[in-house]
């Protein structure tokens, strides 16, 4: 049964291949069947393989497909490695991916690039699966770049608009900067271990390096570079808000549920490296904490429904990074899973709203959709509640609460991280319910002619259910105490070490976080439902801050000034190739000499004779004198 694992990435790949080759020649129904079916089958096989794997006692399963490269000891192969960590990831990827594919058949129904869309989407799923199933870092890198390519293609899916193309290019280049750091990390890892196989590296690293050894720190930081690029963390977060130019299902799948969490996966996968490099791990925590705050503030000011969600995604991944940084590995994975459910749900809901309002993105032009789109409203509300961590009933509460508690209680945590996370939770619920209230409450500002069809509603409902019940697999000590996920992950990821004598404080921390998230909701209620005039006033009196938040803290302007402009300027300056000018100089000199000497060839016979005579005299004199 386990041997079927290879089908999991292979099926989406075949789907993509068939759609690329024959997509334009087969009917739309056929395209949908192939596109959705391949991922659906992969999801089924994942469940099959997963159950077999869990019921077996082994801690990991390897499957060698073929040997890729074998040169002088450098021998990465196409080999899949299944362990609990990758199992959770492939489950989320195939299952959420399947739901989003189903949704897309309705969302993209009228688009002329229907088959192209599904080809890209299938290719993405395939690359993402390779990323998380890879047995070695080079194969992981293949998946890593593959998802980058698909992200590029899908952001720029509507290629006729130049803005989409620019956003796509930005996403690709910014993530590539991170990837390059990661590539250098791989060179160093190979240099140190003579292999890129992940299990071997993880096994050998503690023997080769002591905690805090310089090489380990550098490598961990380089890997972190790759992670922040892909996961849109500081300082490479700028591409994600622009990436919303892609179709909404793409934002749901790639820029919320799966690809952007690849960084989380990488760090969790290489956790041994980060434990050997406390400095790097601290960087992870700091980046997470700062990012979650900055992105949260930006989310408060956005008008575009999808941009709110984009900043929210950056912020939530910040939480995951924070969890990784304090050593709460499984808490990060838990939040990844729950986040995949509710954020995919929110994006799909937002996509439905945007589609039914004829591609209106500005939520201040929506309003009052509660009655007109009940299915979308209720599912969106559940997703939002989960994001805002409304206590007890939502999955988001359990996953985020877990992180908050561990940030405080972990040995590597401290009060500052905790305060940042806590304040972040407050902002999160504020911007989330701002979005809900503005979009679905108040007076209607637009007309809706039809409702979402079943193909759209069903995935929303399924994701909504998961966003509610998904959290019950991991309950805190104070409520029930259940640790299904941590237990599952325990062979791969070590459990977090708590500061001594702190366990009793858990209920206090929880109470504070509950109060803060509820007060965030109240804040949004007060500002946007009770006194709708207030936000405008505040905005005009703090225009400067609003502008900074709205533009994502000015990182775009900064990078424009220090990287893009100089590069373009330099490139334009050099366009004519200055080196070539040297050769042109030689040519001009030769030409000049040619003209000078040509003058002596006047065609007058007597001048030639004169020259001859003078030459003879000169030589004779020389001969006589010397």
């Amino acid at each position: 049964m386990m041997d079927l694992l290879w089908l999991v990435p292979a099926l989406p790949f075949l789907g993509a291949l068939v759609l690329i080759l024959f997509g334009t020649r087969i009917s739309r129904t056929m395209v949908a069947v192939i596109g959705v079916g391949s991922v659906g089958l992969a999801a089924l096989i994942t469940i099959l393989v997963g159950t077999t794997f869990i019921s077996s006692s082994e801690s990991s399963f390897n499957l060698l497909l073929w040997s890729w490269i074998d040169v002088a000891g450098f021998s990465p192969s196409f080999a899949l490695h299944l362990d609990p960590l990758s199992l959770i990831f492939i489950f989320v990827i195939t299952f959420v991916g399947f739901l989003i594919h189903v949704y897309s058949t309705a969302f993209m129904a009228g688009d002329e690039g229907f088959s192209r869309f599904f080809a890209y989407l299938n290719l993405f799923v395939c690359s993402m699966l390779f990323l998380v199933l890879a047995d070695n870092l080079l194969l992981l890198y293949l998946g890593w770049e593959g998802v980058g390519l698909c992200s590029f293609l899908l952001i720029g899916f509507w290629y006729e608009d130049k803005n989409n193309g620019d956003a796509a290019r930005k996403a690709f280049i910014v993530t590539r900067v991170g990837d390059t750091a990661m590539a250098i990390g791989l060179f160093m890892l190979f240099d140190a271990f003579g292999t890129l196989a992940i299990p071997e590296i993880l096994a050998q690293a503690p023997q080769v390096w002591t905690v805090g050894s310089q090489t380990a720190v550098i490598i961990a930081l380089l890997l972190l570079g790759g992670a922040v690029g892909k996961s849109a963390q500081l300082p490479l977060q700028t591409w994600l808000p622009d990436a919303m130019a892609g179709p909404s299902p793409v934002s749901a799948l790639i820029h919320a549920a799966t690809m952007v969490t690849a960084g989380v996966y990488l760090i969790a996968r290489m956790h041994v490296m980060f434990e050997l490099a406390p400095l790097a791990q601290q960087c992870v925590a700091i980046i997470g904490a700062v990012t979650l705050l900055l992105a949260g503030f930006s989310a408060l000011t956005q008008y575009d429904l999808k941009r709110v969600l984009a900043y929210s995604t950056i912020s939530q991944i910040g939480y995951m990074f924070l969890a990784l940084g304090v050593g709460a590995w499984s808490a990060a994975v838990f939040h990844f899973m729950i986040h995949a459910f509710f954020k995919a749900l929110l994006f799909l809901g937002a996509g439905a709203v945007i589609l039914l309002l004829h591609h209106e993105h500005d939520m201040f032009k929506m309003g009052g959709l509660r009655k007109k789109l009940p299915a979308v409203y209720w599912t969106f509300l559940i997703g939002a509640a989960s994001l805002a961590a409304i206590p007890f009933i939502t999955a988001g509460f359990y996953s985020k609460d877990n992180i908050l508690w561990l940030t405080f209680a972990s040995e590597k945590g401290n009060v500052w991280f905790f305060l940042a996370a806590l304040f972040g939770a407050f902002i999160t619920s504020a911007y989330t319910f701002r979005m809900v209230f503005v979009t679905f409450f108040g007076e209607a500002k637009s007309t809706v002619t039809h409702r979402a069809g079943n193909l759209m509603t069903v995935p929303l409902v399924v994701l909504a259910i998961l966003s509610l019940v998904g959290g019950f697999i991991e309950l805190p000590h104070t409520i029930g105490h259940l640790e299904l996920l941590s237990d599952l992950l325990s062979p791969v990821l070590p459990s977090v070490i708590l500061r001594p004598g702190i366990a009793s404080a858990e209920w206090a921390i929880q109470s504070i976080s509950i109060i803060l998230s509820l007060s965030g909701v109240y804040l949004a209620y007060y500002f946007y439902l009770k006194k709708p005039a207030l936000p405008g006033k505040i905005k005009s009196s703090f225009a400067g801050i609003h502008h900074i938040w709205f533009t994502g803290w000015g990182f775009d302007v900064l990078y424009q000034t220090i990287f893009i402009r100089p590069f373009v300027w330099l490139s334009t300056m050099y366009k004519g190739d200055p080196v070539d000018k040297c050769y042109t100089g030689i040519v001009l000199l030769t030409d000049f000499m040619h003209r000078v000497f040509a003058k002596t060839q006047g065609g007058i016979l007597r001048w030639y004779i004169m020259g001859l005579v003078i030459g003879a005299i000169f030589i004779l004199t020389l001969g006589l004198l010397l």
Binding site: F597, G602, G603, I604, L605, R606, V613
Partner: protein
Amino acid sequence: MDDVPIESGLVLASILFILGMIGVLTRRNIIFMLISVEIMLNAAGLAFIVAGAKWAQADGQVMFIFILTMAAAEVSVGLALILQIYHQLKTLDSDAASKMNG
């Protein structure tokens, strides 16, 4: 036979040579230039003869015969060229034949 001092012979040859050279340089008529060239050749020949007489060797006279034959060849080619130039340009002015400038 009274010896003519070698210096006199060489001075005569030099005078002839320089006269010829001045002729080549100053004349524009190609025929006169050719004649001047002949004078220069003969000046060189005279120098050979004088030198041969001085050391009582036949080499000098051999060289002179060479020069004679060469001069003959040169004149025949030269005159043919002159005829062609006259034919083409209707003049014997050497400056007129300046088509082959750089």
